[in-house]
Symmetry: C2
Subunit: 151 residues, 2 copies
């Protein structure tokens, strides 16, 4: 991902500093080269993703991105921003609601829904939109890092 | 993915030819370059994945793969083999149960649990193992393609 707003430097939000409703988001313009790279890395060369003629003749009228590529942007928010460094990823549910096409600008967000002190578990609502259309929804469960004690 | 057993040619299994219990699997040896490529593509540069010293000092004693990289191998089975061409991916749940490390040989499988004629929906149990340890489990929901009528 090459969006300028996305640094390679992960942040940390400690469990003790979290609040229900806290949210982070990113936007990413999906390219044909993202899709080609995801196909190569995952081994999923289904023609709906990578074959132009097949895509054009399909119900979608063109190629679409792999659902798990969009999902990977959700996990990027968890790993880079909230909680960031120290996150332990426990689970993720995903509903793929609409196609994402090359050229689409995807806005991905995660929002804290529940904080469970026992075990520092955090449950987050996850969403990806293209314009006003929600293309992905789901729920993430992570363990958040504990705030270090002051010396 | 460069495993020799993985062709770039997707297959198709039509809904009418499916049976509960039908299963496909693949194995993939996870490399540091897989992890670096997934970090680059997703934007998730969390140091647990990409910083050797951070990984060594962590609870895992080393770097680990992104959970969604292992998950992407699940979706590769759906997109390439079962159902393969014509699959519409509706949903996925994922539980991340144990870390996957560079050098681990991951065996991923999907097994048909339920066939719903209305809408040709297929529910599959998904699993990834490293040796005897299950590292990922979950459930996929897809629409399968309809068998063409004979001419």
């Amino acid at each position: 991902m090459t969006d300028q707003q996305t640094s390679k430097q992960a942040k940390t939000v400690f469990f003790e500093d979290m609040a229900v409703g806290q949210s982070v988001s990113l936007t990413h313009k999906v390219t044909e080269s993202d899709i080609a790279a995801f196909a190569e890395l995952s081994g999923d060369h289904n023609p709906i993703h990578v074959d132009k003629a097949f895509g054009a003749a399909s119900r979608f009228g063109g190629n679409i991105a792999h659902g798990l590529f969009t999902a990977s942007l959700v996990s990027t928010l968890l790993g880079m921003q909230l909680p960031g460094i120290g996150t332990i990823y426990l689970g993720q549910s995903l509903q793929f609601k609409a196609p994402v096409r090359p050229g689409d600008e995807v806005e991905v967000s995660v929002t804290i829904r529940e904080l469970v002190s026992r075990g520092r578990r955090v449950i987050l609502d996850c969403s990806a939109k293209v314009g006003d259309v929600e293309v992905l929804s789901g729920e993430a469960t992570v363990l958040a890092p504990k705030k270090p004690l002051a010396a």
